[in-house]
């Protein structure tokens, strides 16, 4: 690893992305997953949210990490727990008036509803039925509650868009 880059203190790099006044900072996202984080949270910018994204910034914990900052929205524990599928080490900071007022980790939920689409073309959820996808969260993957298909790799590719 190179030694001639800027100091790798996390807080210094967060500053580079710019501080938020009120909202949520999702930190320690594995490098390259920030856009998937936004997709899972259904944040695409079309509703006017002020969002800052830092991708592949140097980190103490990982070689590279992503950071997502969402202004004006405090994400609930249920909302952020879904992130455990793709960013199990993420930390969530709730910010009010530039101060961190709450800090917590993502926890693995029992199921995730309406977030992932089943990759099995033979699954009833892939047709026109009025049914919300539901996946049981396993230790090492996810499983469609309807057809039983287990996915262990590249779960981000299943995120409903």
């Amino acid at each position: 690893m190179s030694n001639d880059r800027e100091p790798t203190d996390d807080s210094a790099h967060e500053l580079r992305v710019s501080k938020i006044r009120d909202g949520t900072v999702i930190d320690h996202v594995r490098g390259g997953q920030a856009l998937n984080v936004l997709a899972i949270l259904d944040i695409d910018g079309t509703r006017g949210e002020e969002v800052s994204v830092g991708m592949n910034v140097p980190s103490d914990r990982f070689a590279r990490k992503d950071i997502v900052k969402v202004e004006g929205r405090e994400l609930s524990q249920d909302e952020v727990d879904v992130l455990s599928l793709i960013a199990p080490d993420a930390t969530i900071n709730i910010v009010r008036e530039y101060e961190v007022v709450g800090k917590h980790r993502v926890e693995r939920p029992e199921t995730v509803d309406g977030v992932l689409s089943c990759p099995n073309p033979g699954c009833i959820t892939t047709g026109d039925e009025p049914v919300t996808s539901r996946f049981e969260v396993l230790e090492d993957g996810v499983r469609c509650v309807y057809c039983g298909t287990i996915v262990r790799e590249n779960i981000a590719s299943l995120i409903e868009t």
Binding site: N120, C123, T125, D128, P130, V131, Y146, G148, I150
Partner: protein
């Protein structure tokens, strides 16, 4: 999910299974005793895929219980061709009937449909998923022939897409059974099913084989399924593979003389007709058992009881 539906054998304990088989044995011994038990009740038959045995045995079972059936008929003549969803179809039929039997080409169809109805719903096959009523008649047949404990069973053929295999494998984890799965590599048991078998409370004893020769002599039961042409890219490959998984008198020379051979039917050429007249053949008896077992299921579910208490 309500527990008065029958969606998969995973929801059934040993006690649940034995209760159904015991009731089936009572009805088998004296079908007339239940002749009027469900008079005036109607069962809706929704078969989105072809069926002979399952559909006719459900119809027979319901009529022997004194009830009747209403049948959606073929998909081509139904509202499905107008684009109606399964969710809408079952909600409509729920209003006409006291129970629904559903076969559908999509996996998970019965699970989803059961979320939309309050009448008992029985899964009669959901794509490559499950076929629990077939399994209960399979277990009934095994109990009547060799017994369900201290059982060594070989399950052969299309293990990947065979829903009867998936349901049977799950159910057998409730019993003292060694399961041997025999198939070409391309039709191995789905990893999801293997995962579940290892999750079972008792810890399943399962082994996978590519050839039957080494395991055949130790089997009490050989459960044969059909390998379908459409699973193979070309006819030559199919012929080559299918030929290896056919049973005839010569194959059985090394088998135990008490070996029971089962097949969910229809068969094509995986069991030679010469086997039919031997004491090994149990597949027609197995098919006949569909009636008392489905009578038992309907009797228990339509009574408002639960089968997985």
């Amino acid at each position: 999910m309500r527990h008065d539906h029958l969606i998969t054998t995973k929801q059934l304990s040993r006690a649940d299974i034995e209760a159904v088989l015991d009731r089936a044995a009572e009805l088998d011994a004296d079908p007339s005793a239940a002749a009027d038990r469900h008079a005036g009740r109607l069962l809706g038959l929704l078969f989105f895929e072809p069926s002979t045995r399952t559909k006719m045995s459900f119809e027979t079972a319901m009529k022997r219980l004194g009830g009747d059936v209403v049948d959606m008929g073929s998909v081509e003549s139904s509202s499905v061709t107008k684009g109606e969803t399964l969710a809408d179809t079952v909600r409509v039929i729920e209003g006409y009937t006291d129970g629904i039997v559903l076969r559908h080409p999509k996996q998970g169809a019965a699970t989803m449909a059961s979320e939309f109805v309050d009448v008992p719903l029985l899964n009669a096959g959901d794509g490559a998923g499950h076929h629990p009523t077939q399994t209960l008649l399979d277990l009934y047949t095994i109990r009547e022939t060799t017994g369900l404990d201290d059982l060594t069973i070989g399950i052969m053929g299309d293990l990947k897409y065979g829903r009867t295999v998936h349901s049977l494998a799950h159910a057998l984890t409730n019993f003292d059974a060694s399961q041997h799965f025999i198939s070409p590599e391309s039709l191995n048991l789905p990893r999801e099913v293997v995962y579940d078998l290892h999750q079972g409370q008792t810890g399943a004893r399962i082994r996978e084989h590519e050839h039957i020769d080494d395991i055949l002599p130790s089997l009490d039961v050989l459960y044969v399924t059909r390998i379908q042409r459409e699973r193979f890219p070309d006819e030559n490959e199919y012929q080559q593979v299918a030929g290896e998984y056919q049973i005839d008198a010569e194959t059985l020379e090394v088998a135990d003389e008490e070996l029971t051979i089962m097949h969910p039917l229809p068969r094509v050429d995986e069991i030679a007709p010469e086997i039919d007249e031997t004491d090994h053949a149990a597949y027609f008896e197995q098919a006949h058992n569909g009636v008392p077992v489905r009578m038992a299921l309907l009797d228990m579910l339509l009574e408002g009881g639960e089968i997985d208490e």
